[in-house]
């Protein structure tokens, strides 16, 4: 038993037509408590793979019928990153290179009587896969953590942008409610005026005239006549604003992992702007030059995260009055571009090569973890996109994002 490695619960698929070699491998692996499933050819291995899950496949290169290389290709095509170790009797560099080229993680040379080499190879390959998976999961968690950090920054501004419209939606409706209650009385008043007029009696007609004059001065009636429609329009407008910002927030805060779908970058831009608006509106003017865009394939929450980050950075870079942020979108050569330019303090040349490093920040301790642009870079890469930065100290900074067009839909 080798200490430090834990082979328990490992499951190996061994595809080997040579009985001696197969027996040796099987006994070494079983000796460590590893479960082994054995097959003499690639075709039955393919069937077995459909029924069972394995941590690793050990396959001979030369097999009757379908060969080891074809099996590797099949595995890469259908079982993702399932690790494969190729067993080959050809002790040449060429065949080793082939193994890796076709997607194997490692190779073993026959004849093999070194049990330690076998176990070490299996262990390393399995461990590497485990670490890669763990890394991917941690990266995903980091993206979410960074998103929550941005959300924290935005929360009070968003609250303000919801509370403000709420106050005049409520205010206008409460006034109109009083007016509507008053309206019932006004209605009755009109009826009795009509009755008086219809009577024809001079005294009654005179009374009707007086009452009518009074009614015309009624504040509620005047408001209903002159202002009510406007008040209702304003309230509806306010409610739409609330709906929009809640919608943006919900999209942003969704803990969605990887679902990619066709996305309109202009729409995501508008959502992101809605979220950061309160942070920007007192500091700078925002100008948009948006062209109609074809869709790109992406995860909407992640794209929002990228845009929110860059917009927040742009706002924070602006220290002077008359700040300005210019946003442009356009497409060419099957790529969709977004550029965000600010006239803030800019990025120093020596910082430029570090801005996408994790935990790199020029802000004071306590304000931000320095993960924003690191995550931006990561997300852009996941979307097969590119990000470029141009900056001049004292003049401003421009971020240029590019994403490939979605070509999957007609």
């Amino acid at each position: 038993m080798i200490t430090g490695r834990n082979f328990a619960n490992l499951c190996v698929l061994l595809v080997e037509d040579d009985p001696e070699c197969g027996d040796f491998f099987e006994s070494v692996l079983l000796g460590e408590g590893i479960k082994v499933c054995r097959s003499r050819n690639a075709e039955s291995a393919v069937e077995i793979l459909k029924e069972q899950k394995f941590d690793i496949v050990l396959s001979d290169k030369n097999l009757p019928g379908m060969d080891g290389i074809a099996l590797i290709k099949h595995i890469r095509g259908n079982y993702g990153t399932l690790p494969v170790v190729l067993i080959t009797g050809e002790g040449t560099v060429g065949s080793a290179v082939d193994a890796f080229k076709f997607g194997a993680q490692d190779f073993l040379l026959k004849p093999l009587d070194d049990s330690e080499l076998l176990l070490k190879t299996v262990w390393n390959v399995v461990e590497q896969r485990r670490l890669a998976d763990e890394n991917k999961m941690l990266q995903r968690k980091l993206i979410l953590a960074e998103r929550m950090e941005s959300l924290g920054l935005l929360a009070t501004g968003v609250a303000h942008e919801i509370n403000n419209p709420t106050s005049f939606v409520l205010g206008n409706l409460e006034l109109l409610r009083e007016d509507m209650r008053e309206f019932a009385k006004i209605s009755e008043g009109l009826q009795s005026i009509l009755a008086d007029v219809m009577s024809g009696e001079q005294k009654e007609v005179e009374r009707a005239r007086k009452r009518f004059e009074e009614l015309r001065q009624n504040a509620s009636l005047r408001r209903i006549q002159d202002d009510a429609v406007q008040m209702i329009e304003e309230a509806i407008d306010g409610a739409h604003r609330i709906r929009r910002i809640v919608g943006s927030l919900r999209g942003f805060a969704r803990p969605d992992y990887e679902t990619m779908e066709p996305v309109d970058l202009n729409e995501e831009l508008e959502k992101s702007l809605t979220l950061v608006w309160n942070e920007l509106k007192y500091k700078c003017k925002v100008t948009k030059e948006l062209q109609e865009l074809p869709k790109v394939v992406g995860n909407p929450s992640q794209i929002d995260q990228v845009l929110v980050n860059i917009l927040l950075n742009a706002g924070q870079a602006i220290e002077q009055k008359e700040g300005s942020i210019v946003i442009k979108t356009y497409h060419e050569n099957s790529r969709v571009f977004i550029t965000i330019s600010d006239n803030g303090k800019g990025i120093a040349a020596e910082c430029m090569k570090h801005i996408f490093d994790p935990f790199f920040t020029t802000k004071d301790v306590g304000s931000g973890t320095g993960l924003g642009l690191y995550i931006v870079y990561d997300i852009v890469k996941r979307h097969a996109g590119s990000i470029d930065v141009k900056s001049q100290v004292g003049e401003g900074t421009t971020f240029i994002l590019a994403f490939p067009e979605d070509t999957s839909h007609g």
Binding site: I162, S167, F168
Partner: protein
């Protein structure tokens, strides 16, 4: 109740200003509206207002900055801050810098809001009328130069300071002044309870009298000779 007080509303959101104008004019107030601190200060140069309602978060000058300037220039104007910005730090700034009467968060309960305005203005009226009474009594007692009245609308205590560092008054003079003053304020019955409200701090003797409606009158007495 004749609600002919004037209110100035300051907010960068036009729809809120419109709503406030409708609501407050409907209550009988005279209403002015301004989109920001700068315009509001210009308006205050030539218009008298009794109460200011100001938002905190505005472009250019913030609400607390604006109200701080108003407090320095015209401490008699009641200052109320309203805000949809739920940030503790800006609330603290508002209260400390702007020395406001109250803070209301948006959106508010309409009944409570209107009641607050009525309370604030009623208190302002009381404080103003008491201040006027004191000044009248001072004229009669020929003590106009010697008596200063500090009547901020965001606190409920009027401070009346009699005399400066070098002034020494005869005890009888002071007693007659106080009698006249209490008469004018309708506080004759309270004189017996003054004894419990006398305090000495930093060598200054002061008398604090509750004159009703939650307002206290604190009179700082000068050095006296028998």
């Amino acid at each position: 109740m004749a609600e002919n007080h004037s209110i100035l509303c300051v907010d960068d959101e036009a729809s809120i200003l419109k709503m406030l104008k409708r609501l407050l004019e409907g209550q009988g107030y005279q209403v002015f509206t301004c989109p920001g601190g700068k315009e509001a200060l210009e308006l205050l140069e030539h218009c008298h207002v009794d109460l200011i309602l100001s938002d905190q978060r505005m472009p250019g000058m913030s609400g607390s900055e604006f109200l701080r300037i108003v407090k320095d220039k015209s401490p008699h104007v009641v200052r109320i801050m309203m805000s949809g910005y739920s940030d503790f730090d800006s609330l603290v700034a508002a209260v400390n810098e702007g020395e406001i009467f109250r803070f209301i968060s948006k959106p508010w309960d309409q009944e409570q809001f209107l009641a607050l305005l009525r309370l604030a203005l009623a208190q302002k009226d009381v404080v103003t009328s008491i201040e006027n009474i004191i000044k009248d009594v001072c004229k009669i007692a020929k003590l106009v130069d010697k008596v200063s009245v500090d009547a901020p609308t965001d606190s409920q205590c009027l401070r009346v300071k009699i005399g400066g560092e070098e002034d020494v008054f005869h005890k009888n003079t002071i007693m007659r002044f106080l009698n006249t003053l209490f008469d004018a304020l309708g506080l004759q019955e309270k004189i017996s309870s003054i004894a419990g409200a006398v305090a000495r701090k930093n060598g200054i003797v002061s008398v604090t009298v509750d004159i009703g409606r939650g307002i206290a009158l604190k009179i700082e007495l000068p050095k006296m000779e028998e």
